[in-house]
Amino acid sequence: MALALQTYATVEDAETALKAAGTRYLGGGTLVVRAANEGDVGVCTLVRSTDPALTGIDISGGKVRIGAAVTMAAVARHPDLAPLARPARAVGGPAIRNMATVGGNLFAPSPYGDFAVALLALGASVEAGGTTMPIEAFLTGRDDSHAIVTSVSFDLAALAGFRFLKVSRVKPKGVSVLSIAAVLGHASDGTVSSARIALGCMADRPMRASVAEKALVGARLTADGIAPALAAVCVGIDPATDPIASAWYRAEVLPVHLGRLLLG
C-alpha cells in the first residue's frame, strides 16, 4: 500500500494531523517505515515535524534534556553523556544508529527499546503533548498516546551511578536477549543507599525490577550482599519467547547478568 508523508513546521500542527485515522508519526523510520515495507496496511500516512523543539541536547542547571528527534549516534558521541554511549551504541548497527531516534525508542516493543531501558533506570521524564510525566507513566500509557514526544529529561547527577548491559547472540550488533540498566547510590559506609534497576525484554516494554531494588538497598556489592536482589529479580517478569530466546531462557539468565552488572 502506498504511503504518504506530511511535514509540519510545528509540533502542534503535526499533532492535529495525527488525529486522522491511519496516521503515524515518523521519527527515524527504522520501525515505522519497516512496518510499511512489510505491508502493514494500518500505516497509510506518516506525519513528521521539523520543529526545532524536537532537536538538540541541552545540559544546564544539573538537568539533561534530549530532543525526541536526536539520534542514537548523536547521543553516543556527546562528550558530556559518556555513560549513555553504551546503551546508545547498543541499538542496531551504525546506519540504524544514524537514524534511530530517542523518541522512537520509547515506543519500540521488546526485544527493542534498549535506550528506553536506560532512560527508565535514570528516572527520566517524558515531555509529550505539552505535559511532562514520569517515564513509567509514559510507558504504561504509550499504546493509547496520540501525542508527539518532544523530549526526555533526567538529572545529570544520575549518570554518575549509571551502569548498562545488553546481552545479544550476534556480536557486535544483535537484538537483545535482555538488557539491564541500573543507577545506584552509595552511603558513606559503602552500602547501597538507593537503587533503580530497569529491565529490557522481560515484558512487552521496559520495566522496573522493584523487588530487587528494595533488596539491594542497605546491601554491599559483594556476591553475598547482592544474593537477595538476584533471587528477587524475576518477580513480576513476563518475558517473550521469540527467535532470539525463549521466555524460560531469558528468566534463567537474568539473575546471572544482573550479578555481572552489579559486581562488574
Binding site: V33, R34, E38
Partner: protein
C-alpha cells in the same frame, strides 16, 4: 497517490525528480534516478545492501523516505570511481576477492567509506563494528575486513 518534487545532489550532480509521496529513497534512486548501485535485499533495515551516505552519515535508503532528503547530498557507490579510476575501496575489494556475487558490495563499500571518512586509520575492531549492519552471504567477511584495512593503508600512503 500525489507526486511530490524533490531535489538533491547525487554524487555531486544536481537531481530533480517527481516521486510518490512516501516513496523510499531506495526506490527513488533505482527506479527514478537510475542509480542501481544501492540494492534492495530485505527492505527491513537488516541487510545493509541499500546503504548510502546522506549528508556525511551512513543511512539505509530502504527505510528513508525520499521526500525527507530534499536538499541533501547523497553519495552512492556508483559515484566513487573518478575518470574511470576505481576508488581505493573498490580497488581493494577487487584485489582481496572481497566480492563474490557482489550483492552486498555497494552497501559494504558505503559502510566502509563512512568509517574511513571519519577514522582514516581504523583498527580491525573498528572495521568489524562499522560493517556490523551489513550482511554478506558469500565471502565469510574476512576478505571484506582485509580489503577495508588495505584501502585505509593505501589512502594514508597517498596522503603521506
Amino acid at each position: 497517490m500525489a507526486k511530490v518534487p524533490i531535489q538533491f545532489t547525487l554524487n555531486g550532480s544536481e537531481k530533480a525528480e517527481f516521486v510518490e509521496s512516501g516513496a523510499t529513497l531506495l526506490n527513488a534512486l533505482r527506479d527514478k534516478v537510475g542509480d542501481t548501485s544501492p540494492k534492495g535485499g530485505c527492505h527491513q533495515g537488516t541487510c545493509g545492501a541499500c546503504s548510502v551516505i546522506i549528508d556525511g552519515e551512513l543511512r539505509l535508503s530502504c527505510l528513508t523516505l525520499a521526500e525527507t532528503c530534499s536538499g541533501a547530498a547523497i553519495i552512492t557507490t556508483a559515484g566513487l570511481a573518478e575518470g574511470g579510476v576505481l576508488h581505493p575501496l573498490q580497488r581493494a575489494f577487487l584485489d582481496a576477492f572481497a566480492s563474490q556475487c557482489g550483492f552486498c558490495t555497494p552497501g559494504m563499500i558505503m559502510a566502509a567509506k563512512a568509517l574511513l571518512d571519519h577514522t582514516p586509520d581504523p583498527s580491525r575492531e573498528d572495521v568489524v563494528e562499522a560493517l556490523s549492519g551489513n550482511i554478506c552471504r558469500c565471502t565469510g567477511y574476512e576478505p571484506i575486513i582485509q580489503a577495508v584495512l588495505t584501502a585505509a593503508r593505501s589512502n594514508s600512503q597517498n596522503v603521506a
